[in-house]
């Protein structure tokens, strides 16, 4: 909300510089920015009136103007062709800071003699005031501009920009902000006058109010003013509304808007003649009831939307907007002025459902006190009489079915100490802060002593947010300031340990992948259906993803059921960044729907490698990443987790049918790895021939991770013996089988494949595998004979098992 400083100053003296004031309000919870007026630097420039014009004795084109600025009359020389007697103009006295109209630079106005006549100031043009570029003549102000007012105040849009939290609806009003300023600066803010002359005829003879929905409307007040003359508002009123960001409409509507801005209570003015049978009925809309608001839009309503009606038809959408059928027109003479208290939640729902949020609804939805309605109606009636004339009927129709009990709260010294950690805020801090009672009184609370260590307090009528003792404590703390609260270390018992093995595993796996040279990425959980399709993550046999009911875009519409799509998109983008090549992974959740429950959020880690091994070497090129790079990463990570992984040939839509492996641990499938299917590579526009990929389901893996991932195994200090062996095996025999067989000998410590050869010189259908075997015994040094013996028996059994023979 925009709160013009000039308006604020009507209620409370502004003792602090505006920037400091804005800061103090912000610290107290009312987020405030000071927006200076564009004219704040003028100095002595006032609204003046040209009372007399004479010819300059020594110059044809110059004239002598006598200008009144209230208490003072001054004479200046003026050359502007458009100056005329009776005009209100901007008058600068010597010392004013203006813009030189010729050079455009700042200047300070000095005393001058022009052609022998002393000039005691200047009548200014727009350009001289820095308000525009017009220098053809002087700036002419409206005829009702108040003579003698500093021009800065008259034209200024200097204001406080206020952003209230939802609990502080009271500060959506100038008076509410003034009261905060008063509390902060220790100045009482008196209530504006609510008095106005009333006629003799009682209001009850003109209107009767009937509330059919007391749970949605706790109070409805109506004043009647007859014989108004609808027309433009006086200039000062228009000016204020404009400064606060509202458009002037007519003198009656403007008066209601003015009071809404002043008090925070929305009001509505009906043309009394449009209220049939002299009766206001406050009722719920009927299902499907149609109603046209004064912006010309027809709405279809549903209960419990609330209407203001007469016995025949609806005339306003309560708390939101008036009806087209009863609005003020030029022809209106009699006004019914409504001030009511509506249920905030209902107003909020109505405004949301009809997509019609208004100045009124945003105030009502925060919850207003019914006493406020009673005051605002009198204030508005007083103002309408002043701006539109007419005569008020006697009294105010007031339907107030159930006035609530007074809101009395107890604030105790012990409660304050318990919540804040110090009694100082209750007692006051000598020289720095008053006690709680004084702070609360300054905020408008009624305060009574309740014994030595407690107060009974009643919040002021404009506050809707004070319900419990903690609220009262906050009031004191925010005004005194949290700087005055001491800092105390936490003491007491330490909490029980809460472990989350899955989270811990995920973080460990992230570290291991980084150790393996992989870059972590984090992508969006919401993705487009197209991305899911491209990653072949939807379709028969795959989970149907959950959809956002109100997606931000088509690209963020579904909760991902797979990390694959985002990962490959990220990879494609990374490959386009020179020099290309990337090893990336993401560890995050996928969301598998479950009927009538939250989805199963599974922790998945997926990675992709593309480019060449040793990419960044400047010495020579290297081979592209392939299946075995992904496998190497997976093997290393699982080994470091103390797991013994096995790999079996498998199928996966995303992957190359001949280069896919299922990762199993203890016989349970925990993931998959392989090279991307060439079609997938093309779909994602991956500019490389091969992409190695892996994916592990951490939820499945986690229960299999041993508590102890590392167990020390004693190692023999006895010498070991190496034997190299080249084997000729059938191409159909997996190397993994040969290796496992070799490893499975009590004297074999280690088996390493150091060469694999296919092609020339080998019999068809055969390939060569060369292993280095390390023999070692824990019992004693092995003799050459023992090693040879072990070797030959091993090879014999290997041949029987796999058909592998020694390569000649």
């Amino acid at each position: 909300m925009k709160v013009p400083l000039s308006w604020l100053a009507d209620y409370v003296p502004l003792k602090l510089p505006p920037v400091e004031l804005a800061h103090r309000l912000t610290m107290a919870g009312i987020e405030t920015t000071f927006v200076p007026g564009k004219d704040a630097e003028w100095g002595p420039v006032y609204v003046g009136e040209v009372v007399r014009l004479e010819k300059h004795p020594n110059a044809d084109r110059l004239r002598l103007a006598t200008v009144s600025i209230g208490g003072e009359t001054l004479r200046v020389v003026c050359g502007a062709p458009n100056i005329a007697q009776g005009q209100r103009i901007a008058f600068a006295k010597t010392g004013a800071r203006l813009t030189d109209s010729h050079t455009g630079t700042p200047m300070t106005l000095g005393a001058a003699k022009i052609r022998g006549v002393e000039s005691q100031g200047m009548v200014c043009s727009e350009r001289e005031l820095g308000l525009g570029n017009d220098h053809d003549g002087i700036l002419v102000l409206p005829p009702n501009a108040p003579i003698g007012t500093p021009l800065a105040d008259y034209l200024s849009d200097a204001h406080l920009d206020i952003e209230v939290t939802t609990n502080r609806g009271d500060c959506l009003s100038v008076l509410g902000v003034a009261r905060e300023v008063g509390a902060i600066t220790g100045v009482p803010v008196p209530e504006p006058s609510l008095d106005y002359p009333e006629g003799t005829e009682p209001v009850s003879s003109a209107v009767r109010v009937q509330i059919d929905a007391p749970d949605l409307c706790s109070r409805y007040l109506a004043a009647v003013i007859k014989g108004v003359k609808v027309g433009p508002s006086p200039e000062w009123l228009q000016q204020r509304l404009k400064q606060a960001g509202l458009r002037p409409i007519n003198n009656v509507v403007d008066a209601t808007n003015y009071v809404m801005l002043e008090y925070g209570q929305p009001l509505h003015a009906f043309d009394l003649r449009q209220v049939r049978r002299d009766t206001i009925v406050v009722r719920q809309a009927r299902p499907g009831e149609r109603f046209t608001t004064l912006d010309g839009v027809e709405h279809t309503l549903q209960p419990p939307m609330l209407l203001i009606a007469d016995p025949e038809r609806a005339i306003a959408l309560a708390g939101v907007m008036g009806g087209a059928n009863s609005e003020m027109t030029e022809a209106t003479t009699d006004v019914l002025l409504e001030s009511a208290t509506f249920n905030g939640i209902n107003i909020r729902r109505t405004a949301q459902q009809l997509k019609l949020r208004t100045e009124a609804s945003t105030r009502f939805e925060k919850g207003l006190q019914s006493e406020l309605a009673g005051r605002a109606v009198r204030r508005a009636a007083r103002l309408i009489l002043r701006t539109a004339g007419g005569a008020a009927m006697r009294g105010i129709a007031d339907a107030f079915p159930a006035a609530g009990p007074a809101n009395r709260l107890r604030l105790s010294r012990s409660g304050m100490t318990r919540l804040i950690g110090t009694a100082a805020l209750f007692d006051g801090i000598p020289g720095r802060a008053p006690g709680a009672g004084e702070v609360l009184r300054a905020l408008g609370f009624a305060v009574q002593q309740a014994g030595h260590d407690a107060l009974t307090v009643t919040p002021p009528y404009w506050r809707s947010d004070i319900a419990i003792e903690e609220d009262v404590i906050e009031e004191v703390a925010r005004i005194v300031g949290y700087d005055n609260v001491p800092a105390e270390p936490l003491a007491g018992r330490m909490p029980a340990t809460l472990t989350q093995p899955l989270r811990e595993l995920r973080e460990r796996v992230k570290d291991l992948l980084v150790d393996a040279g992989m870059q972590e990425t984090i992508s969006y959980s919401l993705i487009g259906h197209r991305t899911l399709e491209q990653a072949l993550a939807v379709g028969p046999g795959k989970p149907e993803p959950l959809r956002a009911a109100n997606p931000l875009s088509r690209e963020q519409e579904y909760l991902r059921t797979s990390l694959r799509g985002n990962l490959l998109r990220t990879l494609a983008a990374a490959l386009r960044v020179p020099p290309g090549g990337a090893r990336i992974f993401e560890a995050g959740r996928v969301y598998i729907p479950r009927a009538e429950d939250l989805p199963d959020e599974r922790e998945i880690v997926a990675g992709a490698l593309a480019g060449t091994r040793g990419d960044s070497l400047w010495e020579k090129g290297a081979d592209p990443f392939d299946f075995h790079d992904a496998k190497g990463v997976v093997e290393s990570v699982l080994a470091r987790l103390g797991l013994d992984a096995a790999f079996e040939r498998a199928e996966d839509d995303l992957l190359h049918p001949g280069r896919t492996a299922r990762i199993t641990v203890d016989g349970e499938a925990v993931g998959v790895l392989g090279e991307l299917h060439p079609l997938v590579t093309r779909t994602f526009d991956l500019t490389v021939a091969k992409v190695a990929f892996f994916e592990i389901d951490l939820n499945t893996l986690q229960p299999r991770v041993p508590w102890l991932t590392t167990a020390f195994k004693p190692f023999s200090r006895l010498p070991s013996a190496d034997r190299d062996v080249a084997l000729l095996v059938d191409e159909s025999v997996p190397a993994g089988r040969v290796q496992r067989f070799l490893e499975d000998h009590p004297l074999v410590r280690r088996v390493a494949l150091f060469d694999r050869f296919v092609g020339k010189g080998l019999p068809a259908g055969k390939l060569s595998l060369a292993y280095r075997l390390e023999f070692q015994s824990g019992a004693g040094t092995l003799s050459a004979e023992q090693v040879n013996e072990a070797m030959s028996s091993l090879l014999q059994r290997l041949q029987a098992e796999t058909g592998a023979t020694l390569r000649a």
């Binding site: 610290m27 107290a28 919870g29 939290t165 939802t166 609990n167 502080r168 905030g344 919540l419 804040i420 950690g421 419990i468 903690e470 906050e474 703390a477 949290y482 609260v485 001491p486 800092a487 105390e488 270390p489 936490l490 003491a491 007491g492 330490m494 909490p495 029980a496 809460l498 989350q500 989270r503 973080e507 992230k510 570290d511 150790d515 040279g517 870059q519 972590e520 990425t521 984090i522 992508s523 969006y524 959980s525 959950l546 959809r547 956002a548 009911a549 109100n550 931000l552 909760l559 983008a573 990374a574 090893r583 990336i584 995050g588 969301y591 939250l598 960044s616 070497l617 400047w618 010495e619």
Partner: protein, 352 residues
Amino acid sequence: MTTSAFADLNALRDAATRELDAAVDAAALEAWRVAYLGRSGKITGVLRGIAAVPADQRRVFGAAANEIKVALEQRFEARQADLERGALSALASDAIDITLPGRPVDMGRLHPTTIVIREICGIFQSMGFQVVEGPEVEWDKYNFEALNIPKDHPARDKWDTIWVDANKDVEGRFTTLLRTHNSPMQARVMETNQPPIRVVVPGKCFRYEATDATHESQFFQVEGLVVDEGVSFANLKHTLYEFARRLFGGDRKVRFRCDFFPFVEPGVDMSIDCFKCGGRDPACRICRGSGWIEIMGAGMVHPNVLRNVGYDPARVSGFAFGMGPERIAMLKYGIDDIRLFYANDIRFLRQF
């Protein structure tokens, strides 16, 4: 004969000396050593052949031969040392270009959000907090209602929500949502645990919000909760002050101002003094000249929240806080656009 034996000995010495001086590398030197001083070398041979020398001259001959042997050995060692010195001095010309880049080790990196979350959680863990996570898809009940934000409460405007098109209540309203903050874990932790509670909750959140340089529809939060007997605002102040000093430096100042969150009372937000300009630069990009940087919201747990999980607010009290690790990363690393975090541009990620 005798003269001739002595003459041979001298000739042998002269030849050996000449050859030794001509040896230019370690191999030639070794060959010389084997030829003269080795087990079957010439000098050794001369000494072995002493039997053929007349007995009366043997002593003199033996002494002369031995003298030559010792002299040659010394000369050999000197020559060897010379050659080694020469070889070492030749190293200077066997130079490499030390300005060539080192052979790169391809190290992986964590995402900056992970780094900052770990840093934040690590600080709190050292103060006795436990780290827990909760579901990212939540019930309205936990995301709002348990936190003193009933349906149609205007405070809900603060959390523009992405709803999940799944479960609905009797009025036809969605009941499942993408959590808008990590605060639902307050209720979940308290439901399943008894005080004392000290937890921090890192995790992903979502808002129905158009993205710009400072707003994202997906972001992370670290939420914290402390509940026990006798926990006060003074404890909140100390805990968060300690945290800020450890994260942003020991000479940081902090400031608390009043703010509103329905699940705390009183509610505050905490700022630190600007570590960039100290409030001296009106055009500072970090604090916009105010000298203060808001880093988190906090407050004393609202009694309704305690009551909703079956705690007795007359017996226990607590405080809660929440912060955005991306914002903290932006401050720490000088990142000016939050959209960089989840766009996953490799040029961004490689910097952390």
